[in-house]
Symmetry: C2
Subunit: 361 residues, 2 copies
């Protein structure tokens, strides 16, 4: 059931509830619902015959596009088939004896850490009484105490939506000596200038920033992620552990165009912010729910009524073709928590409408 950890499997749901896959509004997958860059899609359409050539094995143009987008040196860019493979390989590189992860978090960090023999995994728990906001000093203390070789953060964090600023991360890098991996899958849904650690990678060699393109750029189908790091040892490791032409030519062409489509990027950000604000406002009006602040394109909610839990809500929403994400599988969360992402305005309105009906019962 691996796939369920990454959000509902639409194919299974469709079969179970006799829906067409396209009719289900998937509030669990965190993908930008406004779609991919039209410029990029048009470019791919016009050059689809390029499936018959090998990609440039150096990916020069793609790296240039990522470089201008993420303000990182092209030499510090590592390309991967999605973010998860990069996370896995970086952990292999560090080969830790002691690791530190923040929880609740994306379950793949621990899965990957568990593959390292003799590795002890410690957890830094985000407290709901602090709205899941981490305390940098406390995190540093615990990381150093446990002699962690690697610290893994998701920023903003999935599923809590909490965030560390760039200044927090600088402070962290100055006061720890371990490798720090920051998963910035959701960074584009917030103010990158204030929160992204990408610009710090040049200064701090032990910092590894990883990003995917599935969520913000709405392209999970193309399997494209990238890592940013200035450590020669890390760069060499990835070079020698990566297949030639690991990035397919569609991802290459999409990337070359979408990372430089500044209008699309600005509009997507604005639209998601508007929808997030709408959802937070509406959800907060339900007395049965506590809504946690979020810097991602998703919102963590806690059911504070004794009368029902997230499973109940899930089952009640599915007949309306609305799929939310139950969060009981996240460490430290329980059946009272669920997560929803921002979809299209009409979908968000439909969800709020359905919730009103259900919660009024």
């Amino acid at each position: 059931m691996k796939k369920n950890k990454h959000g509902a499997n639409l194919f299974e749901l469709a079969e179970k509830y006799h829906f067409n896959v396209k009719d289900i509004r998937d509030f669990s997958s965190n993908i930008n619902p406004f779609g991919a860059s039209k410029k990029a899609l048009d470019y791919v359409k016009e050059h689809l015959e390029n499936v018959s050539i090998y990609p440039d094995s150096e990916y020069i143009k793609l790296k240039q596009a990522i470089s201008s987008y993420s303000k990182a040196d092209t030499a510090h860019i590592i390309l991967g088939e999605g973010a998860t493979g990069l996370i896995s390989k970086f952990i292999q590189f560090v080969n830790p004896k002691h690791s530190m992860v923040m929880i609740p978090a994306y379950s793949e960090y621990k899965s990957e850490l568990n593959k390292i023999e003799g590795n002890t995994i410690f957890s830094y728990s985000l407290k709901k009484e602090n709205c899941f906001q981490g305390d940098t000093s406390e995190l540093i203390k615990k990381t150093n105490e446990k002699q962690a070789d690697i610290l893994i953060l998701c920023n903003p964090n999935n599923p809590t939506g909490s965030i560390f600023s760039q200044d927090d991360i600088s402070y962290l890098m100055e006061h720890t000596s371990c490798y720090v991996m920051i998963d910035e899958t959701y960074i584009e849904f917030t103010d990158k200038n204030k929160y992204s650690s990408a610009p710090l990678t040049t200064k701090y060699k032990k910092l590894f920033v990883v990003r995917g393109t599935s969520k913000f750029f709405s392209t999970p189908g193309i399997r494209l992620g990238y890592g940013l790091c200035s450590d020669e040892k890390v760069l060499d490791f990835f070079k020698s552990h990566t297949d030639l032409w690991n990035i397919n030519i569609i991802a290459t062409m999409m990337g070359e165009k979408m990372f430089t489509d500044t209008d699309y990027i600005a509009e997507t950000y604005q639209k998601i912010c508007t929808e997030r604000n709408y959802l937070i406002t509406e959800l907060s009006s339900f007395e049965q729910l506590k809504v946690y602040p979020s810097y991602g394109n998703f919102i963590l909610c806690e059911i504070i009524s004794d009368k029902f839990d997230a499973d109940y809500l899930y089952d009640k929403l599915i007949p309306d073709a609305l799929a939310i994400r139950n969060c009981a599988s996240f460490e430290t969360l329980d059946k009272k928590f669920f997560r929803i992402c921002t979809l299209l305005p009409e979908d968000n309105q439909k969800l709020i409408h359905s919730l009103k009906n259900i919660l009024a019962q």
Copy 2:
């Protein structure tokens, strides 16, 4: 310079000789020049918005298409990002102490075998006096003598064009106990019914057949390969060593259509046979060349004149925007050998015309 092992880097050549990349006729890459399945390309174009969804994590439809194409059980199909990654992982699975490869061959086999610590690699050398045709009994004897844990064959073999029949492989499987990996990258350019070992994978658990889609289906850009094997241990190993969603949605959509496009498959085969026959006939007419028989879409030639070598020929052909593959880097071959693949009729005619001019000098 890794890329040069896999054929000329067109980008570098274009810069050096002031050509547009598209103007160079690349006789070194072995890609079917008639292009990808139009049905598949049209389907991808119509459904390009699918970049915004995750592929089905079980790849059910893609596996069904491969199954009907390769006559293998869907449960025995392993998907990979190109053939090379599958080759690498299968070698990791076997983790051999002793290995046997046929030479001359694709250099990646030895590169991957060399990554296994403590592995001794033995070679079975194809003799030019036998037109590089392998002797099954001799190969069995040597494999058993060396106690090989794995035997790697390419069938038909690159760069020699020689081949083993399905009956030869059955005989081999009956008389060896090691894992046998057969790289069938070029099998579709010949009579699959007689030469492919795919149907044998059900009977022989230690047989692993690997295929790519870059060459025959003219889709190196989509990064799609597959392995066929009925051994549960092998299947489990790949399951636990493969990232979720390793095949991107463009490759998925292309595969679903192109493997079932029987008209395209039959036409491609016919056209390549016609061009191969033309080239073999024309090349054989040069008294300076010995042309080896080929079951692939490429032809190995030996310069039997003392007056020049393949480097000379390469340099003379580049100004005509024709790139051949010098074969000195293949073990047991030398500067007298070159390989060309079948391109479009006009390209093949141009090559023969240029060769006539050069060899008449």
